[in-house]
Amino acid sequence: MELLRIEGAGKRFGDFVAVDGITLAIPAGRLTAIIGPNGAGKTTLINLATGALSPDSGAMHFKSEAITHLPVYHRIRMGLSRSFQIMNIFARLSVLQNILVPVLARRGRAGIPFHRMELETGAMTEARQILREIGLTVEENTAAGALSHGDQRLLELGIAIAPAPELCFLDEPSSGLTPVERSTVLELIRKLSTGRRTTFVIVEHDMDVVFSLADWIVVMNRGQVLAEGPPAEIRENRDVRDVYLGEELPA
């Protein structure tokens, strides 16, 4: 089944064309990686798909419904989600509360006044389940801003999957991590993509990661899709090798 369809999406900032008429389909259940040099338009593409930016041209459909002009929160409710390249968590809230915010929103209970939080048992159970999955159960009551960088990355991932999305974009989920933390995060993504009904699309710079994790690779350059295909095919692609000239593609 086709989850997301992007048709001729374009976005420019002044004279700079960030995304230049991209057409792309993301099917359900295929872990897709988007790679490309800096400024290729990867993050802009995520911003267009999730509604952080609105496109100058083109259209987007999610589960066959037009979402091109829907507000962000609406797309989240439909089953889209994302994490951010630059850390974006609720720093003053506890780890558990960080997860509770999207869980309550999805359950339509985010605006309930006066009701004691302890009585939101359904949301509490669901949030604690997510904490178990990302391995932050012990830190439940720690302020998110006080976590280590690696744990904040895990929390960010937890917030991204908390709306129970069908499609989740992860923008450089392992950036700034030590090799050990990096493999923890990647193992977690692998586990989540099989254990949950979530299709992940990750943007990554680390080629080892991309080629070991992804089922499908989309290579972007100068705002366009240069090539897409399974890892083995991309590895042999001449255009891709030209773009990554001097960089060693993993064998």
Binding site: V72, I76, F90, L93, A110, H115, R116, M117, E120, I159
Partner: protein
């Protein structure tokens, strides 16, 4: 962060409430009058801090809604001498005003939001000043009765004695404080705090951020309205200066004094603000200068507000 107050804090609160109920028996007219002023400023500041400390929006225009509440209550009491009607009217009219101006204000954040609320506040100030037929212009509204608390045909309690009115102010304040306490600990309170910490992350968590900001703005306006509505039956007059931006500064200062990030901060701050002011005016007419010095010293000495002393001791 999610914890309930410790038993020691609970005992302190019970003793405090008890003392407030006993106040008219042990103290003269002036302390009772001052206590009412403190309660009114505490409600005003609590509403302000729902916006500032919990939602991350610094409003400089809350005096506008305070004045709307006061004028609405005064007009109602001059027409129908029924205290409950006057107070409820003040809250509702201020809430409607906050909702309407909020639609425009919450489209912006940070300094733009602050400037916009300042402008709307001053707009209300000039309405109070210029709309002579309705507001009495610079003379204000005078002879506002301290109307009885009554439900026609059921009961009627005279409010002629100030002590009786004190109990109305006290009970309503305690109820409003309790309601706010429950509010900030509810899912709604959590969502507002999430918006404060990261607007983008909240939006991407599925929260329609602008609607929630508008809700917070409206509730803050209703608290300002309640605080304002409690004033005319006490003073028997309402004049335009209560809508001035310097009135908007009072909850800002009280909240900074007491502590932005604790629930009780604005309440403690309202107490400190009025007591310090009350003491200084006895010594000098240039009270504002000395008051400024003390506020600066306290804010620099306790960056998290005076309330942070208690928080530190507990941890």
């Amino acid at each position: 962060m999610t914890g309930r107050p410790s038993s020691r804090v609970a005992i302190l609160i019970v003793l405090l409430v008890l003392a407030l109920f006993l106040l008219p028996w042990v103290a003269g007219r002036y302390p009772v009058y001052l206590a009412m002023q403190i309660l009114i400023l505490a409600l005003f500041s609590l509403g302000f801090n729902l916006l500032f400390g919990y939602t991350g929006l610094l409003s400089f225009g809350q005096a506008g809604f305070f004045a709307v509440g006061a004028y609405a209550c005064a007009k109602i009491l001059l027409a129908v001498p029924n205290l409950m009607l006057g107070l409820a009217g003040g809250v509702v009219v201020a809430g409607v005003a906050a909702f309407l101006l909020g639609i425009l204000s919450v489209r912006h954040t940070r300094i733009y939001f602050s400037m916009l609320t300042l402008a709307f506040g001053m707009m209300i100030y000039s309405v109070a000043w210029k709309w002579r037929d309705f507001t009495g212009g610079d003379d204000g509204l005078v002879g506002i009765p301290r109307a009885p608390l009554e439900i026609p045909g059921l009961f009627s309690i005279s409010m002629a004695a100030m002590d009786r009115y004190y109990y109305v102010v006290l009970v309503l304040s305690l109820l409003a404080i309790f309601a706010m306490y429950r509010l900030v600990r509810s899912p709604l309170g959590l969502t507002l705090q999430a918006i404060r910490d990261s607007e983008t992350r909240a939006e991407f968590s599925g929260v329609p951020v602008r609607k929630y900001r508008l809700a917070a703005f409206t509730i803050a306006g209703m608290y300002a309205g309640l605080a304002g509505a409690l004033l005319p039956p006490l003073e028997n007059t309402v004049t335009p200066p209560i809508a001035h931006w310097s009135t908007s500064a009072e909850p800002v200062l009280a909240t900074l004094l007491g502590g932005v990030h604790t629930f009780g901060g604005p309440i403690l701050g309202a107490f400190l603000f009025l007591v310090i002011k009350d003491i200084i005016v006895r010594f000098t007419e240039y009270w504002l200068i000395w008051f400024g010095v003390i506020v600066v010293a306290l804010v620099m000495g306790f960056p998290g507000g005076v309330m942070s002393i208690f928080a530190k001791r507990r941890s």
